[in-house]
C-alpha cells in the first residue's frame, strides 16, 4: 500500500460518493456542485496516473467552464431553489435504471478483471538498468533502439512478471531478437526475477550469450556467474565497450542524467527532457494532427450552432433599438 494507492482510494471514494449524490439529490443546484466535486476527483486521478497536463486541463475546461455552463443552464431554466420533486422519474423507472446501471458496471468490471487480472503488475516490457542505477520502463521499440545504437546498453535485464510465465512481451522480445539474428530457445526465457542477455565481445563483433539456466527450477543455476554460451551469431556492428545506462530525465535540473556503474553522474544535454505537456503536444501534432483539425471544426460548428440556437427570432421579444429609446 503505497502513498499512490492511499491517494487513489481516497479520490475514488470522493468521486463515487459525489457521483451517487449527484444522480440522487433532488436539489438541482446541489447536483451541479456535486458534479464539480466528481470532476475535481477525476482530475486528481489523472495526476496520480501520470497525466499532469490532462489533469490541469480537466480543471480548466471542466471545472472552470462546463460546470459554469451547467449553472447557467440550471438558472435559465428556472429550477426551483431547494428541493424539487419534478426532476426524477417515478420509482418504478428508477429501479429499472438502477438495474441497468448496475449490470453495465458489473459487465465492465468483469471484462477488465478477466482481461487484466487483479494484482498483475503492469503490461509492457520493463527493462531495468544495472543495479545501483535508477530504473525506468522501456518498451520494445526502445530496446530496438538500444540494440542498434552505437552506445548499446551492454546488458539488458528484462524483468519478467512472477505470476505469468509466458507473456506477450516475451514473444515480442523473441521476435525482436530474431530480427537481430539471435534465436534463443524458448526455455531461456524462464519466469524469474530477471532474464539477462549478456554480451560477449569477440573479434567478429558482439555475441549474445545464453545463460545456463536451471531448467528444473525457476532461477538460473548460478545467479551471478552463469556459463556464457555464445550463440555463434555475432552482431556485425561496432558496439561500445563501455556500459552506458539509459539516460533518465532529471526534472529538477531540466537535463537528462546518466548514472554510470562507478556512481558517476553524467549530465546530458539540456532541454532534452520533455515534460508531459511536451509529449502530449508532440503526439497531438504529429500522429493525431488530422483528428485534431476535425475536432477544431466540430468546435467551430458547435459555436455557430450555439449562436443560432440561442438567438431569439420572435418579434415580440425584440429589444427596442437604442435610438428609439432615446427618442
Amino acid at each position: 500500500m503505497t502513498a499512490v494507492h492511499v491517494g487513489f482510494f481516497a479520490l475514488a471514494f470522493v468521486i463515487l460518493a459525489s457521483a451517487v449524490r449527484m444522480v440522487t439529490t433532488t436539489n438541482v443546484v446541489h447536483a451541479a456542485l456535486y458534479l464539480m466535486l466528481v470532476l475535481s476527483g477525476v482530475a486528481g486521478v489523472f495526476i496520480l496516473l501520470g497525466a499532469e497536463f490532462l489533469g490541469w486541463t480537466q480543471v480548466l475546461v471542466y471545472i472552470g467552464a462546463i460546470v459554469v455552463i451547467f449553472m447557467f443552464g440550471v438558472m435559465l431554466t428556472k429550477a426551483e431553489y431547494g428541493v424539487s420533486d419534478d426532476i426524477d422519474n417515478e420509482p418504478a423507472k428508477r429501479w429499472g435504471a438502477l438495474v441497468v446501471g448496475f449490470l453495465i458496471a458489473a459487465l465492465f468490471i468483469a471484462v477488465f478483471v478477466e482481461a487484466l487480472g487483479v494484482g498483475d503488475s503492469s503490461t509492457g516490457i520493463v527493462a531495468q538498468e544495472r543495479e545501483g542505477t535508477s530504473a525506468r520502463s522501456v518498451d520494445v521499440s526502445e530496446i530496438d533502439l538500444a540494440l542498434t545504437d552505437e552506445n548499446v546498453v551492454k546488458n539488458i535485464n528484462v524483468l519478467a512478471s512472477d505470476s505469468a510465465p509466458w507473456k506477450d512481451e516475451d514473444a515480442a522480445l523473441m521476435d525482436l531478437l530474431h530480427e537481430e539474428g539471435l534465436d534463443f530457445p524458448r526455455e531461456t526465457l524462464l519466469p524469474g526475477p530477471y532474464e539477462i542477455f549478456p554480451v560477449l565481445e569477440t573479434p567478429e563483433g558482439l555475441e549474445f550469450a545464453v545463460p545456463n539456466w536451471d531448467l528444473e527450477g525457476d532461477r538460473p543455476a548460478q545467479e551471478k556467474s552463469f556459463e556464457m554460451k555464445p550463440t555463434g551469431t555475432p552482431v556485425p556492428r561496432s558496439l561500445g565497450t563501455e556500459t552506458v545506462s539509459v539516460p533518465v530525465c532529471d526534472y529538477l535540473s531540466g537535463r537528462n542524467i546518466t548514472r554510470r556503474d562507478n556512481g558517476e553522474v553524467v549530465m546530458g544535454e539540456p532541454l532534452f527532457c520533455p515534460t508531459k505537456a511536451d509529449e502530449v503536444a508532440n503526439d497531438l501534432f504529429n500522429r493525431w494532427v488530422l483528428p485534431f483539425e476535425a475536432v477544431s471544426l466540430v468546435l467551430l460548428a458547435a459555436l455557430i450552432g450555439g449562436i443560432v440556437l440561442a438567438r431569439r427570432d420572435d418579434p415580440e421579444h425584440v429589444r427596442p433599438r437604442v435610438e428609439e429609446v432615446a427618442v
Binding site: L16, F70, A97, F112, V118
Partner: protein, 99 residues
C-alpha cells in the same frame, strides 16, 4: 498502480452515469450524467495509456474533453430553446415530434 483499479473506478462511474440518464427527467441533469460517462471514458483512456506507456491515451482524452465541451454547449442551447417553447425541461413531456 495496478491498472485494474482505475478501470474499476471508471466502470462504476459509467454505471452511475447510466443510472442518472435513465432515472432523471430534467434535461439539464441528464446532460450532467452524460458528463459522468465521458469522464469514465477519459479515466479508461488515461489508465490504459499509463499501463502501456503510450501518450496517445492522454491525447484521446483531450479530444473527448473538447467534444464534451462542444456537446454541453449545444445541449444546453437546445435545452434553453425547449424551455422557451414548453416552459419546462422534462424530457418525458417533450413529445411534439412523437407520431
Amino acid at each position: 498502480m495496478d491498472t485494474v483499479y482505475p478501470l474499476t473506478l471508471s466502470a462504476l462511474l459509467f454505471g452511475i452515469g447510466v443510472y442518472g440518464i435513465l432515472a432523471r427527467k430534467n434535461a439539464v441533469m441528464i446532460l450532467a450524467s452524460v458528463e459522468l460517462m465521458l469522464n469514465a471514458c477519459n479515466i479508461n483512456f488515461v489508465a490504459f495509456g499509463a499501463a502501456w506507456n503510450e501518450i496517445s491515451g492522454q491525447v484521446f482524452a483531450l479530444f473527448v474533453i473538447a467534444v464534451a465541451a462542444a456537446e454541453v454547449g449545444i445541449g444546453l442551447a437546445i435545452v434553453l430553446l425547449i424551455y422557451r417553447n414548453h416552459v419546462n425541461v422534462n424530457v418525458d413531456e417533450i413529445d411534439s415530434m412523437k407520431w
